[in-house]
Amino acid sequence: MAAPIVPESTEAFRDALVQSAADTLPEILAESLDADVTQDEKPTDEEAEDVDRILAEVARRNGIPLYDSAEEAAKPWSQRRVSGQMHELLRALFQTAAIERGFMGGIPIPGDGSPPLVIEPRHPLRAALESIGANLEDSATRFGRAIRAGDFAFAASRLPKDRDYEHVTSWWSDRLQRLVLVVRDRETQLRRHVLWPYRFNLDHEERWLKLADTLSASLNYDYDAEVTAMESLEKHVTAHQFKMYLITGMFMESSPRSGIAYLFRRLRPTIALGSSGPRKSLITAEQDGERKVRIIACLCLHPIGYYQGSWAGVMVPTDDVLTHLLLMRGDEHMFWRQANQHSPRNINAGL
């Protein structure tokens, strides 16, 4: 049995965690990480209780409380929230375990009160991570989050239950200022258009909720990680660009390949700018004396995952910015292919 960790200082605590991770790592986590296929099933109650027992043992060995109060421990498994110290410990353990098993991007662990996660489809812990916190919400909140996150398939599944519909396609209509969903009746195979009763650009509450969710997601970020990411960004941009970023949270760079100018922003999608003229890059338009600029799209992309209904990714904000910048420089086509391309009028564009 491993010796208990005595947290003398934050650094010593972290070092000790890393050293003891192999001893205290739950086997269930290890098996999940070693699996080659994505696990789509949520844990059963029995499996959940197994995890709970392992967590209790990890907490005991490290001399920290698993739950903050007896009332918390008495709640059903899916509603219990571990203590702050335990949460920090789990983050460190998951991080170490992920790197040891070759998942170099790490594993995001959402904290108390954070919006649920949306994880990339091939991640081995996708289902488990997405289920954290999701069951604490009522269906109306979850529905609202799905709409804000652009999860139209989920939204379609919430259509009236008298018919069994499946999602076919959906898009944002600038003219109608609404989402348009096309669904298919599974029985009759007839398609039906649904105009979503939201008018995003008029709904200030939707915007406020998205801001609030971004703010609550920010509680999960590690200060040192953000500083490291900013130091890394500084090496990739000019002093002028970095100064702009420090002061305003955004900077601009043009692509020499496409002529498109990009405005990279912290905690918001990157804005792609072109000239107003057809088939003309911004640079050509500028040389021709035309000054009109139009927003082509707002590009949203988060490595590994993001917090549903927010603008926050699981990586620290500057890492997201750096990802956009490097993908634009290295493979601009792929950047556009992988990013969600939001209309500037859509709430998700962050304008």
């Binding site: 990339e120 911004l282 000054r291 969600n340």
Partner: protein
Amino acid sequence: MTALAEWQRMLPPVGSEFRHDRGELNIFNVGAGDLQIQITGVEDEAELAKIRQRIEGMLKQGYVLLAADKRGRLRRIKKFDPKKLTYTISLDEGPDAEVPVSKGKATAVPRSAGG
């Protein structure tokens, strides 16, 4: 000053930031911000095997790996040769080029979840 001139002034001089002789692999990581693996000077076979395994593993998991070409422009890594320890990058013009891992600065970005 026009907006274009302003933007061009802001662009980093091509190649200035990536010209180096040391092999380095930066990996975007959820908890650490950036993980940096120094590759130049590693002679221990076990360490080299771990580096090979990690690079192969990331490519298998769908990570995007980027490395600079001779002119300092970032390119996507198409292949990795664990025996020769070289990356293969595609260029806009001409055939693919090989970059030795020990001299290339690469960046690894995990798979995207959209947004």
